[in-house]
Amino acid sequence: MNQIRPTSPDLARYRADFPILGQTVHGKPLVYLDSAASAQKPEAVIAAMVHTMRAQYANVHRGLHALSEAATEAYEQTRDVVARFLNAPDRAEIVFTRNSTEAINLVAHSYGALLKPGQAVLISEMEHHANIVPWQMLRDRAGIALRVCPITDAGELDLDALEAQLADGRVGLVALTHMSNVLGTITPARRIADLAHRYGARVLFDGSQAVVHQTVDVQAIDADFYVFTGHKLYGPTGIGVLWGRHALLDAMPPFLGGGDMIDTVTLARATWARVPHKFEAGTPPIIEAAGLTAAIFYLQAIGQDAIAAHEAALTDHALTRLAEIPGLDVIGRARHRGGVVSFTLAGVHAHDIATLLDRQGIAVRAGHHCAEPLMHRLGLGSTARASFALYTTHQEIDALVAGLHRVRALFA
Protein backbone atom coordinates (compact mmCIF):
# COMPACT_ATOMS: atom_id res chain seq x y z
CA MET A 1 0.00 0.00 0.00
CA ASN A 2 1.47 3.32 -0.97
CA GLN A 3 -0.84 5.38 1.18
CA ILE A 4 0.92 7.15 4.02
CA ARG A 5 -0.61 6.23 7.31
CA PRO A 6 0.05 7.76 10.69
CA THR A 7 2.67 5.89 12.66
CA SER A 8 1.30 3.58 15.23
CA PRO A 9 0.97 5.22 18.61
CA ASP A 10 2.30 2.95 21.25
CA LEU A 11 -0.66 1.10 22.63
CA ALA A 12 1.54 -1.63 24.08
CA ARG A 13 0.89 -0.49 27.61
CA TYR A 14 -2.81 -1.31 27.23
CA ARG A 15 -2.05 -4.93 26.48
CA ALA A 16 -1.50 -5.57 30.16
CA ASP A 17 -5.15 -4.65 30.77
CA PHE A 18 -6.21 -7.94 29.14
CA PRO A 19 -5.48 -10.73 31.60
CA ILE A 20 -6.06 -13.54 29.13
CA LEU A 21 -3.29 -12.33 26.83
CA GLY A 22 -0.63 -13.37 29.34
CA GLN A 23 -1.40 -17.04 28.69
CA THR A 24 0.70 -19.57 26.95
CA VAL A 25 -0.93 -22.00 24.52
CA HIS A 26 0.80 -25.33 23.85
CA GLY A 27 3.74 -23.86 25.73
CA LYS A 28 4.00 -20.84 23.42
CA PRO A 29 3.00 -17.26 24.22
CA LEU A 30 -0.53 -16.67 22.98
CA VAL A 31 -0.74 -14.69 19.73
CA TYR A 32 -4.43 -13.92 19.51
CA LEU A 33 -5.34 -12.90 15.98
CA ASP A 34 -9.03 -13.79 16.12
CA SER A 35 -10.51 -10.63 17.58
CA ALA A 36 -12.97 -10.22 14.72
CA ALA A 37 -14.68 -13.40 15.91
CA SER A 38 -14.66 -12.11 19.46
CA ALA A 39 -12.40 -9.67 21.25
CA GLN A 40 -10.73 -10.29 24.60
CA LYS A 41 -11.89 -8.36 27.64
CA PRO A 42 -9.99 -5.74 29.60
CA GLU A 43 -9.89 -5.84 33.39
CA ALA A 44 -12.24 -2.83 33.48
CA VAL A 45 -15.02 -4.83 31.83
CA ILE A 46 -14.49 -7.84 34.03
CA ALA A 47 -14.43 -5.66 37.14
CA ALA A 48 -17.59 -3.78 36.19
CA MET A 49 -19.52 -7.01 35.75
CA VAL A 50 -18.21 -8.48 38.96
CA HIS A 51 -19.01 -5.26 40.79
CA THR A 52 -22.57 -5.37 39.49
CA MET A 53 -23.03 -8.89 40.81
CA ARG A 54 -21.33 -8.19 44.10
CA ALA A 55 -22.76 -4.83 44.97
CA GLN A 56 -25.63 -3.54 42.93
CA TYR A 57 -27.54 -6.39 41.43
CA ALA A 58 -31.31 -6.70 41.32
CA ASN A 59 -33.89 -6.82 38.57
CA VAL A 60 -34.54 -3.56 36.78
CA HIS A 61 -37.60 -1.40 36.13
CA ARG A 62 -39.74 -3.12 38.70
CA GLY A 63 -38.33 -2.85 42.17
CA LEU A 64 -39.20 -0.11 44.55
CA HIS A 65 -36.19 -0.94 46.67
CA ALA A 66 -32.76 0.59 46.69
CA LEU A 67 -30.91 -2.18 44.89
CA SER A 68 -33.38 -2.32 42.06
CA GLU A 69 -33.23 1.42 41.68
CA ALA A 70 -29.46 1.37 41.55
CA ALA A 71 -29.49 -1.48 39.03
CA THR A 72 -32.08 0.32 36.90
CA GLU A 73 -30.06 3.48 36.93
CA ALA A 74 -26.89 1.66 35.88
CA TYR A 75 -28.71 -0.21 33.14
CA GLU A 76 -30.32 2.96 31.82
CA GLN A 77 -26.97 4.73 32.00
CA THR A 78 -25.67 2.23 29.46
CA ARG A 79 -28.35 3.49 27.10
CA ASP A 80 -26.97 7.02 27.49
CA VAL A 81 -23.43 5.81 26.99
CA VAL A 82 -24.34 3.91 23.82
CA ALA A 83 -26.40 6.82 22.51
CA ARG A 84 -23.38 9.12 22.87
CA PHE A 85 -21.08 6.41 21.44
CA LEU A 86 -23.14 6.34 18.23
CA ASN A 87 -24.07 10.03 18.40
CA ALA A 88 -27.72 9.04 18.41
CA PRO A 89 -30.02 12.04 18.81
CA ASP A 90 -32.23 10.35 21.38
CA ARG A 91 -31.41 7.80 24.10
CA ALA A 92 -34.82 6.15 23.59
CA GLU A 93 -33.59 5.04 20.17
CA ILE A 94 -31.16 2.57 21.76
CA VAL A 95 -32.61 -0.95 22.07
CA PHE A 96 -30.66 -3.69 23.81
CA THR A 97 -30.69 -7.13 22.26
CA ARG A 98 -28.64 -10.27 22.75
CA ASN A 99 -26.28 -9.57 19.86
CA SER A 100 -26.20 -8.22 16.32
CA THR A 101 -28.01 -11.25 15.04
CA GLU A 102 -30.99 -10.61 17.28
CA ALA A 103 -30.97 -6.91 16.44
CA ILE A 104 -31.17 -7.68 12.71
CA ASN A 105 -33.88 -10.25 13.32
CA LEU A 106 -35.80 -7.63 15.26
CA VAL A 107 -35.71 -5.25 12.32
CA ALA A 108 -36.53 -8.03 9.85
CA HIS A 109 -39.52 -8.97 11.96
CA SER A 110 -40.83 -5.60 13.03
CA TYR A 111 -39.80 -3.27 10.24
CA GLY A 112 -40.42 -6.17 7.86
CA ALA A 113 -44.03 -6.17 9.06
CA LEU A 114 -44.41 -2.67 7.62
CA LEU A 115 -43.17 -3.67 4.18
CA LYS A 116 -45.72 -4.62 1.55
CA PRO A 117 -45.60 -7.64 -0.74
CA GLY A 118 -43.84 -6.54 -3.89
CA GLN A 119 -41.37 -4.42 -1.99
CA ALA A 120 -37.80 -5.61 -1.66
CA VAL A 121 -34.92 -5.73 0.77
CA LEU A 122 -31.45 -5.21 -0.69
CA ILE A 123 -28.38 -6.87 0.80
CA SER A 124 -24.92 -7.52 -0.68
CA GLU A 125 -22.75 -10.46 -1.60
CA MET A 126 -20.44 -9.84 1.33
CA GLU A 127 -22.87 -10.09 4.22
CA HIS A 128 -22.47 -12.22 7.30
CA HIS A 129 -25.15 -14.91 7.58
CA ALA A 130 -26.69 -12.74 10.32
CA ASN A 131 -27.56 -10.19 7.65
CA ILE A 132 -28.77 -12.71 5.09
CA VAL A 133 -30.87 -15.35 6.77
CA PRO A 134 -33.34 -13.04 8.59
CA TRP A 135 -34.14 -11.44 5.22
CA GLN A 136 -34.59 -14.80 3.53
CA MET A 137 -37.01 -15.69 6.31
CA LEU A 138 -38.87 -12.43 5.76
CA ARG A 139 -38.96 -13.09 2.03
CA ASP A 140 -40.44 -16.54 2.55
CA ARG A 141 -42.91 -15.36 5.17
CA ALA A 142 -44.14 -12.13 3.70
CA GLY A 143 -43.57 -12.16 -0.03
CA ILE A 144 -40.85 -9.53 0.17
CA ALA A 145 -38.29 -9.82 -2.61
CA LEU A 146 -34.63 -10.13 -1.71
CA ARG A 147 -32.12 -8.40 -3.94
CA VAL A 148 -28.38 -8.81 -3.78
CA CYS A 149 -25.90 -6.12 -4.68
CA PRO A 150 -22.72 -7.54 -6.25
CA ILE A 151 -19.23 -6.70 -5.10
CA THR A 152 -16.25 -5.96 -7.30
CA ASP A 153 -13.27 -8.29 -7.56
CA ALA A 154 -11.42 -5.98 -5.19
CA GLY A 155 -14.11 -6.67 -2.62
CA GLU A 156 -15.87 -3.33 -2.69
CA LEU A 157 -19.56 -2.70 -3.11
CA ASP A 158 -20.50 -2.06 -6.71
CA LEU A 159 -22.25 1.27 -6.18
CA ASP A 160 -23.47 1.51 -9.76
CA ALA A 161 -25.14 -1.84 -9.39
CA LEU A 162 -26.53 -0.70 -6.05
CA GLU A 163 -28.12 2.32 -7.68
CA ALA A 164 -29.47 0.21 -10.54
CA GLN A 165 -31.11 -2.12 -8.06
CA LEU A 166 -32.70 0.82 -6.26
CA ALA A 167 -33.89 2.55 -9.39
CA ASP A 168 -37.39 1.09 -9.62
CA GLY A 169 -38.22 2.43 -6.16
CA ARG A 170 -39.40 -0.92 -4.83
CA VAL A 171 -36.62 -1.43 -2.32
CA GLY A 172 -37.98 -0.62 1.14
CA LEU A 173 -34.80 -1.35 3.05
CA VAL A 174 -31.12 -1.59 2.20
CA ALA A 175 -29.30 -3.79 4.75
CA LEU A 176 -25.52 -3.76 4.33
CA THR A 177 -22.42 -4.38 6.28
CA HIS A 178 -20.47 -1.33 7.39
CA MET A 179 -17.31 -3.46 7.43
CA SER A 180 -16.83 -6.94 6.02
CA ASN A 181 -15.74 -9.55 8.55
CA VAL A 182 -13.94 -11.43 5.77
CA LEU A 183 -12.45 -8.82 3.46
CA GLY A 184 -12.01 -5.96 5.89
CA THR A 185 -13.76 -3.67 3.41
CA ILE A 186 -15.26 -0.57 4.99
CA THR A 187 -18.30 0.45 2.99
CA PRO A 188 -19.09 4.10 2.18
CA ALA A 189 -22.02 4.39 4.55
CA ARG A 190 -22.99 7.98 3.83
CA ARG A 191 -23.01 7.45 0.07
CA ILE A 192 -25.05 4.31 0.48
CA ALA A 193 -27.55 6.07 2.72
CA ASP A 194 -27.84 8.97 0.27
CA LEU A 195 -28.49 6.56 -2.58
CA ALA A 196 -31.03 4.58 -0.59
CA HIS A 197 -32.87 7.68 0.51
CA ARG A 198 -32.91 9.12 -3.00
CA TYR A 199 -34.94 6.11 -4.08
CA GLY A 200 -37.17 6.03 -1.04
CA ALA A 201 -35.48 3.19 0.84
CA ARG A 202 -34.39 3.06 4.47
CA VAL A 203 -30.95 1.79 5.35
CA LEU A 204 -29.64 -0.54 8.04
CA PHE A 205 -25.93 -0.99 8.68
CA ASP A 206 -24.48 -4.07 10.26
CA GLY A 207 -21.80 -2.39 12.35
CA SER A 208 -20.60 -5.54 14.12
CA GLN A 209 -17.07 -5.04 12.83
CA ALA A 210 -17.14 -1.34 11.99
CA VAL A 211 -17.78 0.06 15.48
CA VAL A 212 -14.71 -1.73 16.76
CA HIS A 213 -12.33 -0.05 14.38
CA GLN A 214 -13.65 3.47 13.83
CA THR A 215 -15.83 6.15 15.34
CA VAL A 216 -19.38 5.77 14.14
CA ASP A 217 -21.80 8.68 13.98
CA VAL A 218 -25.23 7.51 12.90
CA GLN A 219 -26.32 11.07 12.14
CA ALA A 220 -23.29 11.84 10.01
CA ILE A 221 -23.82 8.71 7.93
CA ASP A 222 -27.58 9.36 7.86
CA ALA A 223 -28.44 5.78 8.79
CA ASP A 224 -31.93 4.64 9.71
CA PHE A 225 -30.90 1.56 11.68
CA TYR A 226 -27.51 0.55 13.04
CA VAL A 227 -26.62 -2.65 14.89
CA PHE A 228 -23.59 -3.94 16.75
CA THR A 229 -22.66 -6.63 19.22
CA GLY A 230 -20.96 -6.20 22.60
CA HIS A 231 -18.50 -9.07 22.52
CA LYS A 232 -16.54 -7.82 19.53
CA LEU A 233 -16.19 -4.42 21.19
CA TYR A 234 -14.17 -5.80 24.13
CA GLY A 235 -17.45 -6.14 26.03
CA PRO A 236 -19.34 -9.20 27.18
CA THR A 237 -21.35 -11.71 25.20
CA GLY A 238 -25.12 -11.56 25.60
CA ILE A 239 -25.65 -7.90 24.76
CA GLY A 240 -26.12 -6.24 21.41
CA VAL A 241 -27.49 -2.92 20.28
CA LEU A 242 -30.07 -1.76 17.79
CA TRP A 243 -30.23 1.93 17.10
CA GLY A 244 -33.17 3.09 15.01
CA ARG A 245 -34.80 6.40 14.25
CA HIS A 246 -37.47 7.09 16.81
CA ALA A 247 -40.29 7.48 14.30
CA LEU A 248 -39.44 4.13 12.71
CA LEU A 249 -39.17 2.27 16.01
CA ASP A 250 -42.40 3.86 17.11
CA ALA A 251 -44.27 2.66 14.03
CA MET A 252 -42.93 -0.88 14.27
CA PRO A 253 -44.82 -3.64 16.08
CA PRO A 254 -43.00 -5.40 18.93
CA PHE A 255 -40.68 -8.33 18.31
CA LEU A 256 -40.90 -10.53 21.39
CA GLY A 257 -43.76 -10.37 23.87
CA GLY A 258 -43.58 -10.61 27.64
CA GLY A 259 -42.75 -8.64 30.71
CA ASP A 260 -41.19 -5.16 30.54
CA MET A 261 -42.42 -4.48 27.01
CA ILE A 262 -46.03 -3.80 27.93
CA ASP A 263 -47.97 -0.87 29.19
CA THR A 264 -51.04 -2.72 30.46
CA VAL A 265 -52.08 -6.33 30.15
CA THR A 266 -55.50 -7.90 30.57
CA LEU A 267 -56.24 -11.50 29.77
CA ALA A 268 -57.75 -10.28 26.54
CA ARG A 269 -55.00 -7.99 25.29
CA ALA A 270 -51.96 -5.91 26.01
CA THR A 271 -50.81 -2.46 25.06
CA TRP A 272 -47.18 -1.78 24.34
CA ALA A 273 -44.72 0.22 26.31
CA ARG A 274 -43.00 3.10 24.56
CA VAL A 275 -39.73 2.64 22.72
CA PRO A 276 -37.22 1.38 23.57
CA HIS A 277 -38.96 -0.79 26.16
CA LYS A 278 -41.45 -2.07 23.61
CA PHE A 279 -38.56 -4.03 22.13
CA GLU A 280 -37.00 -5.24 25.37
CA ALA A 281 -39.19 -8.11 26.49
CA GLY A 282 -38.15 -9.95 29.62
CA THR A 283 -35.30 -9.34 32.03
CA PRO A 284 -32.61 -7.57 30.02
CA PRO A 285 -28.84 -8.17 30.07
CA ILE A 286 -28.25 -6.22 33.27
CA ILE A 287 -24.78 -7.47 34.10
CA GLU A 288 -23.74 -7.35 30.47
CA ALA A 289 -24.89 -3.75 30.19
CA ALA A 290 -22.47 -2.83 32.98
CA GLY A 291 -19.75 -4.56 30.99
CA LEU A 292 -20.68 -2.73 27.81
CA THR A 293 -20.53 0.64 29.53
CA ALA A 294 -17.09 -0.23 30.85
CA ALA A 295 -15.94 -1.36 27.42
CA ILE A 296 -17.06 1.86 25.76
CA PHE A 297 -15.48 4.01 28.49
CA TYR A 298 -12.30 2.00 28.10
CA LEU A 299 -12.15 2.58 24.34
CA GLN A 300 -12.91 6.24 24.73
CA ALA A 301 -10.23 6.67 27.37
CA ILE A 302 -7.61 5.30 24.96
CA GLY A 303 -9.15 7.22 22.08
CA GLN A 304 -10.91 5.62 19.15
CA ASP A 305 -8.77 7.58 16.72
CA ALA A 306 -5.58 6.31 18.33
CA ILE A 307 -6.91 2.77 18.11
CA ALA A 308 -7.87 3.23 14.48
CA ALA A 309 -4.40 4.59 13.67
CA HIS A 310 -2.76 1.69 15.50
CA GLU A 311 -4.85 -0.85 13.59
CA ALA A 312 -4.20 0.88 10.27
CA ALA A 313 -0.47 0.61 10.92
CA LEU A 314 -0.84 -3.06 11.89
CA THR A 315 -2.84 -3.77 8.75
CA ASP A 316 -0.24 -2.10 6.55
CA HIS A 317 2.47 -4.07 8.26
CA ALA A 318 0.52 -7.32 7.84
CA LEU A 319 -0.17 -6.70 4.15
CA THR A 320 3.49 -5.89 3.52
CA ARG A 321 4.83 -8.89 5.42
CA LEU A 322 2.25 -11.36 4.09
CA ALA A 323 3.18 -10.35 0.55
CA GLU A 324 6.64 -11.84 1.22
CA ILE A 325 5.21 -15.34 1.47
CA PRO A 326 5.23 -17.19 -1.85
CA GLY A 327 1.84 -18.63 -2.74
CA LEU A 328 -0.03 -16.46 -0.28
CA ASP A 329 -2.98 -14.52 -1.64
CA VAL A 330 -4.71 -11.82 0.36
CA ILE A 331 -8.43 -11.94 -0.35
CA GLY A 332 -9.93 -8.50 -0.80
CA ARG A 333 -8.14 -5.37 -1.95
CA ALA A 334 -10.51 -2.66 -0.87
CA ARG A 335 -9.02 0.81 -0.71
CA HIS A 336 -10.74 1.59 2.56
CA ARG A 337 -10.30 -1.30 4.95
CA GLY A 338 -10.03 -2.27 8.59
CA GLY A 339 -7.89 -4.68 10.52
CA VAL A 340 -9.15 -7.97 9.13
CA VAL A 341 -7.01 -9.87 6.61
CA SER A 342 -8.17 -13.07 4.92
CA PHE A 343 -5.78 -15.14 2.88
CA THR A 344 -5.18 -18.43 1.18
CA LEU A 345 -1.91 -20.30 0.86
CA ALA A 346 -1.38 -22.34 -2.29
CA GLY A 347 -1.59 -26.06 -1.64
CA VAL A 348 -2.56 -25.72 2.01
CA HIS A 349 -6.16 -25.84 3.19
CA ALA A 350 -7.15 -23.11 5.63
CA HIS A 351 -7.97 -25.64 8.35
CA ASP A 352 -4.53 -27.15 8.12
CA ILE A 353 -3.05 -23.67 8.41
CA ALA A 354 -5.11 -22.95 11.52
CA THR A 355 -4.22 -26.23 13.25
CA LEU A 356 -0.52 -25.86 12.57
CA LEU A 357 -0.48 -22.20 13.63
CA ASP A 358 -2.39 -23.07 16.78
CA ARG A 359 0.43 -25.40 17.73
CA GLN A 360 2.69 -22.37 17.66
CA GLY A 361 0.34 -20.49 19.96
CA ILE A 362 -1.17 -18.45 17.11
CA ALA A 363 -4.96 -18.20 16.99
CA VAL A 364 -6.48 -17.44 13.59
CA ARG A 365 -9.87 -18.24 12.17
CA ALA A 366 -10.30 -20.61 9.26
CA GLY A 367 -13.39 -21.50 7.31
CA HIS A 368 -16.16 -19.62 5.58
CA HIS A 369 -16.51 -17.02 8.36
CA CYS A 370 -20.30 -17.25 8.34
CA ALA A 371 -20.29 -15.73 4.88
CA GLU A 372 -20.81 -18.70 2.56
CA PRO A 373 -22.31 -16.67 -0.29
CA LEU A 374 -19.22 -14.46 -0.27
CA MET A 375 -16.95 -17.52 -0.40
CA HIS A 376 -18.99 -18.74 -3.33
CA ARG A 377 -18.64 -15.37 -5.07
CA LEU A 378 -14.89 -15.52 -4.56
CA GLY A 379 -14.73 -19.12 -5.72
CA LEU A 380 -13.21 -20.22 -2.44
CA GLY A 381 -14.17 -22.95 0.01
CA SER A 382 -12.50 -21.33 2.92
CA THR A 383 -9.84 -18.85 3.91
CA ALA A 384 -7.68 -18.23 6.92
CA ARG A 385 -8.19 -14.90 8.63
CA ALA A 386 -6.06 -12.85 10.96
CA SER A 387 -7.76 -9.95 12.68
CA PHE A 388 -6.31 -7.18 14.79
CA ALA A 389 -7.32 -5.32 17.88
CA LEU A 390 -6.05 -2.51 20.03
CA TYR A 391 -3.85 -5.01 21.91
CA THR A 392 -2.29 -6.55 18.81
CA THR A 393 1.41 -5.87 18.28
CA HIS A 394 3.68 -5.76 15.26
CA GLN A 395 5.64 -8.64 16.77
CA GLU A 396 2.52 -10.78 16.70
CA ILE A 397 2.14 -10.18 12.99
CA ASP A 398 5.80 -11.11 12.56
CA ALA A 399 5.08 -14.29 14.53
CA LEU A 400 2.21 -15.05 12.16
CA VAL A 401 4.46 -14.58 9.16
CA ALA A 402 7.14 -16.82 10.67
CA GLY A 403 4.45 -19.39 11.47
CA LEU A 404 3.19 -19.33 7.90
CA HIS A 405 6.69 -19.84 6.53
CA ARG A 406 6.91 -22.89 8.76
CA VAL A 407 3.60 -24.25 7.51
CA ARG A 408 4.77 -23.74 3.94
CA ALA A 409 8.01 -25.51 4.61
CA LEU A 410 6.13 -28.47 6.04
CA PHE A 411 3.91 -28.71 2.97
CA ALA A 412 6.70 -28.00 0.49
Binding site: A350, H351, L356, E372, G381
Partner: protein
Protein backbone atom coordinates in the same frame (compact mmCIF):
# COMPACT_ATOMS: atom_id res chain seq x y z
CA UNK B 1 -1.06 -35.60 20.69
CA UNK B 2 2.33 -36.20 19.27
CA UNK B 3 3.41 -32.92 17.85
CA UNK B 4 0.99 -32.05 15.03
CA UNK B 5 3.89 -31.22 12.77
CA UNK B 6 5.06 -34.81 13.15
CA UNK B 7 1.54 -36.08 12.54
CA UNK B 8 1.32 -33.97 9.41
CA UNK B 9 4.76 -34.93 8.16
CA UNK B 10 4.54 -38.69 8.81
CA UNK B 11 0.89 -39.45 8.26
CA UNK B 12 -1.15 -36.65 6.77
CA UNK B 13 1.16 -35.32 4.11
CA UNK B 14 2.48 -38.75 3.23
CA UNK B 15 -1.02 -39.70 2.13
CA UNK B 16 -2.62 -36.44 1.06
CA UNK B 17 0.05 -35.25 -1.40
CA UNK B 18 -0.09 -38.26 -3.67
CA UNK B 19 -3.09 -40.30 -2.59
CA UNK B 20 -2.84 -43.86 -3.85
CA UNK B 21 -6.55 -44.50 -3.98
CA UNK B 22 -7.78 -41.30 -5.54
CA UNK B 23 -10.45 -41.63 -8.19
CA UNK B 24 -13.09 -44.19 -8.95
CA UNK B 25 -12.17 -47.86 -9.48
CA UNK B 26 -12.91 -49.35 -12.93
CA UNK B 27 -16.28 -50.54 -11.75
CA UNK B 28 -18.31 -48.80 -9.06
CA UNK B 29 -20.72 -51.09 -7.25
CA UNK B 30 -21.69 -48.54 -4.62
CA UNK B 31 -20.77 -45.00 -3.72
CA UNK B 32 -21.38 -42.53 -0.96
CA UNK B 33 -20.96 -38.81 -0.45
CA UNK B 34 -20.36 -36.74 2.66
CA UNK B 35 -19.88 -33.03 3.18
CA UNK B 36 -18.79 -30.93 6.09
CA UNK B 37 -21.00 -27.98 6.87
CA UNK B 38 -18.16 -26.43 8.78
CA UNK B 39 -15.67 -26.08 5.98
CA UNK B 40 -17.31 -27.16 2.76
CA UNK B 41 -15.06 -30.20 2.44
CA UNK B 42 -16.57 -32.98 0.36
CA UNK B 43 -15.65 -36.63 0.00
CA UNK B 44 -16.97 -39.27 -2.40
CA UNK B 45 -16.21 -42.90 -1.72
CA UNK B 46 -16.51 -45.59 -4.42
CA UNK B 47 -16.70 -49.31 -3.73
CA UNK B 48 -15.83 -52.11 -6.11
CA UNK B 49 -16.63 -55.61 -4.88
CA UNK B 50 -15.29 -59.08 -5.51
CA UNK B 51 -17.83 -61.61 -6.77
CA UNK B 52 -18.17 -62.87 -3.17
CA UNK B 53 -19.19 -59.40 -2.12
CA UNK B 54 -16.04 -58.44 -0.20
CA UNK B 55 -14.51 -55.08 -0.94
CA UNK B 56 -12.02 -55.35 -3.76
CA UNK B 57 -11.07 -51.73 -4.25
CA UNK B 58 -12.06 -48.51 -2.62
CA UNK B 59 -11.54 -45.23 -4.37
CA UNK B 60 -12.17 -41.70 -3.18
CA UNK B 61 -12.50 -38.20 -4.46
CA UNK B 62 -11.73 -35.90 -1.56
CA UNK B 63 -11.81 -32.16 -1.81
CA UNK B 64 -10.71 -30.52 1.34
CA UNK B 65 -8.03 -30.28 3.95
CA UNK B 66 -5.03 -32.57 4.08
CA UNK B 67 -6.46 -34.51 7.03
CA UNK B 68 -9.64 -35.49 5.19
CA UNK B 69 -7.71 -36.54 2.09
CA UNK B 70 -5.20 -38.60 4.07
CA UNK B 71 -8.02 -40.17 6.08
CA UNK B 72 -9.82 -41.12 2.88
CA UNK B 73 -6.70 -42.68 1.40
CA UNK B 74 -5.80 -44.65 4.49
CA UNK B 75 -9.37 -45.79 4.87
CA UNK B 76 -9.31 -47.12 1.31
CA UNK B 77 -6.07 -48.94 2.02
CA UNK B 78 -7.41 -50.47 5.21
CA UNK B 79 -10.72 -51.71 3.92
CA UNK B 80 -9.79 -53.66 0.84
CA UNK B 81 -10.50 -57.34 1.39
CA UNK B 82 -12.98 -56.66 4.18
CA UNK B 83 -16.62 -57.64 4.23
CA UNK B 84 -19.22 -54.95 4.80
CA UNK B 85 -19.60 -55.99 8.41
CA UNK B 86 -15.86 -55.87 8.93
CA UNK B 87 -15.75 -52.45 7.32
CA UNK B 88 -18.49 -51.25 9.66
CA UNK B 89 -16.57 -52.59 12.64
CA UNK B 90 -13.38 -50.88 11.44
CA UNK B 91 -15.33 -47.67 11.07
CA UNK B 92 -16.70 -48.00 14.60
CA UNK B 93 -13.21 -48.61 15.97
CA UNK B 94 -11.88 -45.55 14.14
CA UNK B 95 -14.62 -43.36 15.55
CA UNK B 96 -14.03 -44.67 19.06
CA UNK B 97 -10.34 -43.97 18.73
CA UNK B 98 -10.96 -40.38 17.66
CA UNK B 99 -13.00 -39.78 20.77
CA UNK B 100 -10.88 -41.72 23.25
CA UNK B 101 -7.51 -40.64 21.95
CA UNK B 102 -6.21 -44.18 22.52
CA UNK B 103 -4.85 -46.12 19.52
CA UNK B 104 -7.33 -48.92 18.85
CA UNK B 105 -5.94 -52.50 18.77
CA UNK B 106 -8.45 -53.53 16.12
CA UNK B 107 -7.05 -50.97 13.70
CA UNK B 108 -3.89 -51.30 11.64
CA UNK B 109 -0.96 -49.23 12.97
CA UNK B 110 -1.04 -46.81 10.05
CA UNK B 111 -4.32 -45.43 11.42
CA UNK B 112 -3.10 -45.04 14.99
CA UNK B 113 -1.66 -41.58 14.47
CA UNK B 114 -5.20 -40.25 14.04
CA UNK B 115 -5.85 -40.91 17.74
CA UNK B 116 -4.11 -37.60 18.37
CA UNK B 117 -7.06 -35.79 16.82
CA UNK B 118 -8.98 -36.46 20.02
CA UNK B 119 -7.26 -33.30 21.25
CA UNK B 120 -8.58 -31.39 18.21
CA UNK B 121 -12.35 -31.75 18.31
CA UNK B 122 -12.77 -29.26 15.48
CA UNK B 123 -10.62 -31.41 13.21
CA UNK B 124 -12.11 -34.78 14.12
CA UNK B 125 -14.88 -34.17 11.63
CA UNK B 126 -12.30 -33.86 8.85
CA UNK B 127 -10.95 -37.35 9.53
CA UNK B 128 -14.43 -38.81 9.91
CA UNK B 129 -15.78 -37.38 6.68
CA UNK B 130 -14.63 -40.27 4.43
CA UNK B 131 -15.99 -42.75 6.93
CA UNK B 132 -19.34 -41.01 6.76
CA UNK B 133 -19.28 -41.32 3.00
CA UNK B 134 -18.40 -44.98 3.46
CA UNK B 135 -21.42 -45.51 5.71
CA UNK B 136 -23.66 -44.19 2.95
CA UNK B 137 -21.96 -46.38 0.39
CA UNK B 138 -22.32 -49.46 2.55
CA UNK B 139 -25.92 -48.62 3.30
CA UNK B 140 -26.69 -48.82 -0.40
CA UNK B 141 -24.51 -51.81 -1.19
CA UNK B 142 -25.35 -55.51 -1.04
CA UNK B 143 -24.59 -57.14 2.28
CA UNK B 144 -22.17 -60.03 2.50
Amino acid sequence: MTDPETFYRDTVLAHSRAPRHAGAPPRVDASGHAESRLCGDAVDVFLMRHPDGTLARIGHRAEGCAISIAAADLMAETLSGQTDDQARATSGAFQTMLTSGVPHPALPPHLHAFAGLAAYPARRGCALLPWQALATALGHGPRT
